[in-house]
């Protein structure tokens, strides 16, 4: 089975190669590399990844310009058709700015850029991104961000929790995120945004392999679909 994936690169993305490498190592197939100015995605994609970085220099707000770029209109359409979309770090910011995920990512409460490994709790192990984890499992994944403080109004937070759309939660206070939220799903469960970087935990040489199961989950979900 070939896994047709795409990694979107915006001007200022800097984790796109890591993401492409992770997808290739886990799936055995190199992803398509798509540029922000492209108006169309390759046909028949099984997975789209929005990588970390500082798209458009974080001008206006993190992710704001990227969310209005030509390729994002195609990504939004694909997400609405049910294609799995993963946004990591800046990719998560792009997903909230584009309206595919609720809430917003504010400046870290402590004002400092946070760059270290953090413990995460897997809150939902039923999604297509988390099926290979078990609920309540603690995993270690690095974060590297300045704007990772997840914010949404109380009603939205209650809805996210009630519907099982909190995918990951920090095991400690990292950035001031509301209810410790590190990753959220859209209502259909095919869009995941998260601040931590699973693509940086694929092989033992990277210090751990806790991110690998996320990509394996997506592959598995596709194979059993």
């Amino acid at each position: 089975m070939s896994f047709r994936s795409a990694v979107i690169t915006f001007p200022g993305s800097n984790c796109d190669r890591d993401m492409a490498d992770a997808l290739e190592k886990v799936s055995g197939t190199a992803p398509h590399r798509v540029w922000h100015a492209d108006a169309e995605l390759p046909q028949g994609l099984d997975f789209i990844a929005l990588p970390g970085g500082f798209s458009y220099g974080d001008y206006l707000r993190s992710g704001a310009m990227a969310a209005r770029s030509p390729i994002m209109q195609a990504v939004i359409a694909a997400a609405n058709r049910g294609v799995p979309v993963l946004g990591v770090c800046n990719g998560f910011q792009v997903l909230t700015e584009s309206g595919l995920l609720p809430g917003a990512l504010l400046r870290n409460a402590g004002m400092n850029f946070v760059c270290r490994e953090v413990a995460l709790t897997v809150e939902n192990s039923q999604s297509l991104f988390t099926g290979r984890y078990s609920a309540g499992q603690t995993i270690t994944i690095p974060v590297a961000h300045h704007d990772g403080n997840y914010f949404a109004d109380t009603e939205t937070l209650d809805r996210l929790e009630g519907d099982g759309r909190v995918a990951f939660r920090y095991g400690e206070d990292v950035n001031g995120s509301a209810r410790g939220i590190a990753g959220v799903l859209n209502p259909a469960g095919n869009v995941l945004g998260m601040m931590p970087h699973p693509e940086r935990m694929i092989e033992a040489e990277q210090g751990g392999t806790d991110g690998r199961a996320l990509f394996e989950s997506a592959l598995n979900a596709l194979a059993s679909a």
Binding site: R68, T96, G103, M111
Partner: protein, 78 residues
């Protein structure tokens, strides 16, 4: 015509930048500042064909993130 758009964080949204500025003001030895909120001002030079409605659209869809921010439009006399 010059138009100024003021974007500010909504009440209740934590503003770490404002807090840092507040702290720095106290460092100047000036006391009595109760609170500091930082925002941004975006100045546009628009011609007469740009309607109020279009300005509103710009603000809602791009200049402000309505989840966390409010905006105010100020038209300056030519």
């Amino acid at each position: 015509m010059k138009v100024r758009v003021f974007v500010s964080l909504k009440n209740g949204v934590l503003d770490p930048q404002g807090r840092a500025i507040h702290h720095a003001i106290e460092g100047l030895g000036i006391h009595g500042v109760q609170d500091v909120r930082a925002g941004k001002m975006i100045e546009l030079d628009v011609d007469d064909t740009v309607s109020d409605e279009q300005l509103d659209t710009m603000c809602k869809q791009l200049l402000a993130n309505m989840v966390i921010e409010n905006y105010r439009i100020e038209r300056l006399a030519a």
